[in-house]
């Protein structure tokens, strides 16, 4: 697989073309938080609504590249209706996948497992991420990692501001 096909997987392009949970929610009860990438101009605005320990609804607006916008869309689909603790867990797992060294993925996985320093990172549970695992190709393009993590950082900030879990 060439590098670019690894980055622009079909599911990513699908979420870029047809973003899920696009729009706004009334504030309050929803909580609004903005995420900016000042270097490249990408932006996301999240509207998050919690209900009894569950992330009951989420809407996203913003603009940016296919990676930032598809990551936001995939995230919204993955976290909607989940408990706060599961959402926190997903954020951790996703960010761990994004911080993993590229040699820990794909061809060189044996080398990675013999490397003690990165063994905890190599243990990222890609299966738990479901469709989100499609974004793992991003780590081969280090400057794009911040595109993929933009909405996730905004979601974590949102939960922190609400004081959830």
């Amino acid at each position: 697989m060439t590098g670019l096909e690894d980055l622009y997987r079909e599911i990513i392009l699908d979420h870029y073309r047809s973003p899920r949970n696009r729009g706004e929610l009334p504030v309050p009860p929803a909580h609004r938080v903005e995420g900016f990438n000042p270097l490249c101009g990408d932006e996301v605005v999240l509207y998050v609504e919690l209900d009894d320990g569950t992330l009951s609804d989420i809407r996203i607006t913003g603009q940016g590249c296919s990676i930032s916008q598809s990551s936001a869309s995939l995230m919204s689909a993955a976290v909607k209706g989940k408990s706060i603790s599961k959402v926190r867990g997903l954020i951790r797992t996703f960010k761990a996948m994004m911080s993993i060294h590229e040699t820990c993925l794909g061809e060189d996985s044996e080398g990675a497992s013999s490397n003690g320093a990165s063994s905890d990172k190599a243990a990222v549970d890609l299966e738990a991420l479901g469709e989100l695992a499609a974004l793992q190709g991003v780590v081969k393009f280090p400057v794009r990692i911040k595109c993929a993590t933009l909405s996730w950082n905004a979601l974590a900030q949102s939960l922190d501001e609400i004081g959830a879990g």
Partner: protein, 408 residues
């Protein structure tokens, strides 16, 4: 129309990326360096280096001679009438403009005074004035942009009323637009305003003469004109510089220091606190020499021809799928080509191009007010220089077409 500078003079251009020859189209951001610049800096460090303005020994005197020689060469390159006193070495264009806003601005601008900026300026010529405006309660006014991506000068005389300074780009780093700077300067002077030229994109690409431009301050960077990073230039009229207080304080910029104060050194060292970028100045001098031996008229002619070729080639190939942000006539613009291709986001376009070895910039190019005016969050930008030729433009077009297979 081959490149007028031999690509072989530039070691980086013979590199390969992703198994392909590098097609460098990001010179508006930072240019590459010819071998002679690398050799000159290397030679300086190997044979000459000592601190300037201090040592009484042979190599220190030679370091002085080379550093001050670079100042004279740079001054000659921009037509400075008194280069020995008027050419100030700074870190870059940004620092040069900050020098003016901090030193001249704080001494000369009072609450209610107006500064006229433009919607096509770089953040480096906006943020220093925003900072000072907040500190001094200044009024900032903005020259807009017309449908042909030119500065809208229809209200200029009205907008100049009460203005103390016009700070304007001499060539847009996004649109390529070359404003009628001499005309703006003349009208500004008639209205009693001084004029600062952000010439970061002008000096590398067009013959530059501060007298013909009519500016009072001119700022540019070495790394965009075949020189090293870490050094830029402020030129200003000597009478202004004499009246301005120092910018940064420290060694080298003083005549005397006492418990109760200091007196400043003479020009140009008053504005060069601390050990300056000596090797970088020497490298800049070599870059100026390279450009002069090529001839700036020839550089401009080559870039105009190549820009025309690029605009024609891209427009013919991509038709309505391509939107180019900038004047259509190469006479009115430099070789900076910002574009949007279909609905492919500029970052994704840059990523696709990179796979073909084509280096372009994608983003807001430090011009967020301009991006808002254009109604986009970012553009992709290919920029040309003397080492580019038609094969580079053709490679760009081929690589752009590959976006269709991914994003089709």
């Amino acid at each position: 129309m081959s490149s007028i500078a031999c690509k072989a003079d530039f070691p980086l251009l013979s590199q390969q990326v992703h198994g392909r020859r590098i097609v460098y189209l990001d010179s508006a951001s930072s240019s590459q360096r010819p071998q002679v610049v690398l050799d000159t800096m290397d030679d300086y460090y190997r044979t000459t280096h000592a601190n300037v303005h201090r040592g009484i020994y042979a190599i220190a005197e030679e370091a002085d001679r080379r550093y001050e020689g670079a100042r004279m060469a740079v001054g000659g390159f921009i037509g400075a009438p008194d280069p020995e006193h008027e050419v100030i070495f700074t870190k870059n264009t940004t620092e040069a403009i900050n020098l003016v806003s901090s030193s001249w601005g704080r001494c000369n601008l009072r609450a209610g005074d107006a500064v006229l900026l433009t919607d096509m300026d770089h953040h480096s010529n906006i943020v220093p004035w925003l900072t000072l405006a907040e500190e001094r309660s200044l009024e900032l006014r903005w020259l807009g942009i017309d449908e042909q991506y030119r500065l809208d000068l229809s209200e200029l005389d009205h907008q100049l009323d009460g203005v103390k300074l016009v700070a304007c780009t001499a060539m847009s780093n996004v649109l390529g637009t070359i404003p009628p700077f001499a005309q703006i300067a003349e009208r500004a002077h008639s209205a009693g305003a001084l004029v600062l030229a952000d010439a970061a994109q002008l000096v590398p690409h067009l013959p530059t003469d501060v007298g013909s431009l009519g500016c009072d301050f001119l700022a540019f960077s070495a790394h965009k004109m075949l020189g090293p990073t870490g050094i830029g230039v402020l030129w200003a009229r000597r009478a202004l510089l004499e009246e301005m207080p120092p910018f940064l304080g420290g060694g080298g910029m003083i005549r005397d220091v006492r418990h109760d104060g200091f007196s400043a050194n003479v020009l140009p060292w008053k504005f060069e606190a601390g050990t300056p970028p000596i090797a970088e100045a020497v490298g800049l001098g070599a870059a100026v020499g390279y450009l002069e031996s090529t001839g700036m008229e020839a550089v401009r002619k080559h870039e105009m021809n190549l820009t025309s070729y690029a605009l024609d080639t891209l427009s013919e190939r991509f038709g309505e799928n391509l939107r180019i942000f900038g004047p259509p006539d190469a006479e009115e613009r430099g070789g900076v080509i910002s574009f949007a291709y279909r609905d492919v986001h500029p970052h994704d376009m840059a990523q696709v191009l990179d796979q073909s070895g084509v280096c372009v910039r994608a983003g807001h190019h430090c011009t967020k007010p301009l991006m808002r005016h254009l109604g986009v969050s970012a553009t992709a930008r290919a920029s040309l220089y003397l080492y580019n030729d038609e094969s580079d433009v053709d490679a760009l077009a081929e690589a752009m077409a590959k976006a269709d297979t991914l994003f089709g």
